[in-house]
């Protein structure tokens, strides 16, 4: 297991967001982290990353992670692509990428192979990119460095269907090289990419197993993920 989360609890502003979340992420492939809005998916990622205080234990690559500063975990190969991309709007595309470079030998070949558009737009300021382009830039930032696990939060949120498809394809290619923990609302994307799924409900793990077992059962899907969840083809 590349990541083992055990009994993770988070209290923010007096309310218990996470109440003893436990799950594992295998060292290959994509694991989906699912659940309705507000169940604590993003909180889980941020707690693992050390951005918010949490109790319990998190083990990343055999080393306890809780309490370690975020930047050290990231340097150890924990890549993070946050919700809403968080590219630096005032910096150019090239500057965004340059900022992310940590290794002696950044992998620009892979990045520009996956996202050739970024090369053409390298002098454009990131704030003027489209949502899809910003997402590609956010993914590119983690791909420049050697990684052991990627935490990716809602990469297709707010994107047009054609762009969702492109992002999903990119994620699929990335997953050949590095395991991922993926938060995603679009169940078609989940079905296409994720082998396993962890479902959160009310701050706890409500279900854990192969994705097909979850999404292949409409009643279970509706029960765990809400009535509105439908499996759309990307």
């Amino acid at each position: 297991m590349i990541l083992s989360v055990h009994d993770l609890s988070v209290t923010l502003g007096g309310s218990h967001i996470l109440q003893g979340v436990s799950f594992d992420v295998p060292p290959t492939g994509i694991t989906a982290l699912l659940g309705r809005n507000g169940v604590g998916k993003t909180t889980t990622l941020r707690a693992v990353l050390g951005e918010i205080p949490a109790t319990g234990s998190v083990d990343f690559g055999g080393v306890p992670a809780l309490g370690r500063p975020t930047h050290r975990l990231v340097r150890d190969g924990l890549g993070y692509v946050p919700e809403d991309r968080c590219v630096f709007a005032g910096l150019t595309v090239a500057e965004n990428l340059r900022l992310a470079v940590r290794s002696q030998d950044p992998d620009f070949r892979t990045v520009f192979g996956l996202f050739p558009e970024l090369k053409q737009r390298s002098d454009q300021s990131a704030g003027t990119l489209s949502g899809g382009q910003q997402q590609m830039l956010a993914l590119a930032r983690v791909l420049l460095n050697p990684q052991r696990l990627l935490l990716i939060d809602e990469p297709t949120k707010g994107l047009a269907p054609a762009v969702i498809s492109a992002v999903a394809a990119a994620l699929e290619r990335m997953a050949e090289r590095v395991p991922m923990l993926l938060v995603e609302q679009n169940l078609a994307v989940v079905r296409r990419l994720a082998r396993d799924a962890v479902v959160l409900a009310a701050g706890r793990v409500a279900w854990h197993g192969p994705t097909e077992e979850l999404l292949g059962d409409p009643a279970r899907t509706r029960d765990l993920l809400g009535v509105g969840s439908t499996v759309r083809r990307p």
């Binding site: 990353l49 951005e51 500063p69 975020t70 930047h71 990231v74 340097r75 993070y80 946050p82 968080c86 630096f88 709007a89 005032g90 910096l91 500057e95 340059r98 900022l99 992310a100 940590r102 930032r141 460095n145």
Partner: protein, 287 residues
Amino acid sequence: MSTVVLLTLTGLGLAALYFLIASGLSLVFGLAGVLNFAHGLFLSVGAYAGWFVATHWALGPAIPVGVAAGAATGALVELVVIRPLYRRPTEQVLATVGLSLAGVALLQSIWGADPRSYPRPAWTAHTTGVLGAQVPDDRFLLIGAAVLVLAALLAFLRWTRYGLIIRAGVENRAMVSALGIDVRAAFTLVFTLGGALAGAAGVLGGMYFGSVSPGQGAGLLIFAFIVVVIGGLGSVTGCAVAAVAVGLLQQFVNYYGTSGAGDVSVVALLAVVLLLRPGGVAGKVTA
């Protein structure tokens, strides 16, 4: 006409002083989120260090010594007081409030509460004719220093890796950490940088006003705060624009209106800017 020229250049001299104080303040707030009340202390420490060197040794090294003293104070404050309070922003502000009170009292216990006269280069006492106005040369010293600092700061932010980190951190500091960068090293850097600029402002301000007193920094700090808010927190260019606006407004209204009206009009300008654009001229929306 010559009055207007003289007022403009005097206003720009004042603007230069405000810019030297406010740019560091703005970067510290923009990156580290700390409203630094101790910034006036950095200025006073720099001013007294420069004064000490100038009166006991020579005038030449006063500026580098003042800059070094301000930088050292800034770094020390960040490492000893601000860093342990990381993630407790209100406490950080309060701690700088306590530091500013204690620091001014400390200076007062060493050099007394009364202003000390500040030595200055002989050439600054001369005047130069500009478009019919006789302008004292100390204005040019301040304006020149500020322009130099502005250019250097912009180049630093634009072309260096730490500049890149600071610009990104002003936008979203958590994301900088999430890229594997120790953003706290950048905090120490901006505090040191801010301290250095404040130290320079202390020495140059001492030469400009002809005296130094323990509370001088705190008095200038309020106008620097106004410049920072008008300019937009974390923006060096916005800071420069706002400093010029504030310096000129203050100088002209003080001359043509009653005494003190210039200071009041600066506050009015702040109120107007905040109501129209809560994020300041540069428009970065910060709570």
